[in-house]
């Protein structure tokens, strides 16, 4: 008869395998915090460049603000995106190494696959809005599609990510209903909420 330790270890290994093969848990909490900081810095930069905060008439502000300004905001958004994704990959790779796991597994592929459809759709949608000069729907569009991607991703990683998805969707819809609060919604959703969830996940799962 096997000693007790063996049975307990069997159970522990069964649990760990079930978890590892169904959820990507190398996602680092700090990646969320960093993404939030980049987003806040980006929102601040956009505001500093003259992005209207609350008090603008939403009709054709593309003309009011000028195309150069909009390109600059676009550039800031791209920089924030690249930094956030890059940091997330780097920190998650580090966490995976520490956990003695691989980063590129069937689970992480499923996670990315679940996000791909809403994110690619959203990206194309934003380009179409740009083409039609519907600038004030950029922020709502980005937030709603990103929220849908997170909602899907919740099945393949920490379940809290699903709730973060709901928050982005709600803030996105609010900013669509009232575009003048766009930058505020962006700063709360992409900035503050990423930091809050990053810290929460770090405290709950990484300590």
């Amino acid at each position: 008869m096997k000693p007790e330790q063996d049975y307990t270890r069997d159970i522990a290994e069964i649990r760990s395998m079930m978890e590892r093969s169904s959820k990507f848990l190398s996602l680092a909490g700090w990646a969320g915090v960093m993404a939030g900081i980049y987003a806040l810095a980006g929102a601040f930069a956009a505001w500093w460049m003259g992005y209207p905060l609350m008090d603008f008439v939403h009709a054709d502000y593309g003309h009011t603000l000028g195309i150069d300004f909009l390109w600059n905001v676009f550039l800031v958004a791209i920089i924030v995106l690249v930094l956030a994704v890059g940091t997330a990959i780097w920190l998650s790779a580090r966490k995976a190494r520490k956990r003695n796991e691989k980063l590129w597994t069937s689970t992480s592929r499923q996670l990315l696959g679940s996000m791909a459809v809403p994110l690619i759709t959203g990206g194309l949608f934003l380009l179409i809005l740009f083409y039609h000069d519907f600038f004030f729907f950029w922020i709502p569009g980005a937030m709603v599609f990103y929220g849908l991607a997170l909602y899907n991703a919740g099945r393949f990683t920490y379940k809290e990510i699903k709730a973060l998805g709901y928050i982005q969707i709600i803030l996105g819809l609010l900013s669509a209903a009232s575009p003048r609060y766009g930058l505020i919604c962006w700063a709360i959703g992409f900035g503050v909420m990423h930091i809050v969830y990053g810290i929460y996940i770090h405290n709950k799962y990484e300590r």
């Binding site: 159970i11 093969s21 069937s106």
Partner: protein, 99 residues
């Protein structure tokens, strides 16, 4: 069924076989390579354990082609699910009785 004295099924004595069953318990189906990544074993080693589980009819295979590449996916059978759940229940009982 091959069962040892304590009621545990012999097929689950190997950690790798137990790992295969655990992964298939929470996934509808998994590719050979996915199992290989999770278990960190060689092709030959994994294949022999899979064969043993197939022989018990605990798991089954679905072969298809994606383009020209053969694609092999494994899933747990009803019998496999029952045996795995029974195994878990016995493990739990054994741990409790030893305390």
């Amino acid at each position: 069924m091959k069962v040892s004295i304590n009621g545990l099924h012999k097929a689950f004595e190997s950690r790798i076989r137990l790992g295969i069953m655990s992964a298939l318990a929470v996934n509808d189906e998994l590719e050979f390579n996915a199992l290989k990544e999770y278990l960190d074993v060689t092709d030959g080693n994994l294949a022999s354990h899979i064969k043993a589980l197939e022989k018990e009819k605990f798991i089954d295979v679905e072969k298809s082609f994606i383009g020209k590449k053969p694609n092999t996916r494994y899933f747990m059978t009803k019998a496999g699910k029952k045996a795995f759940e029974a195994h878990l229940a016995i493990l739990e009982k054994l741990i409790k009785s030893q305390k």
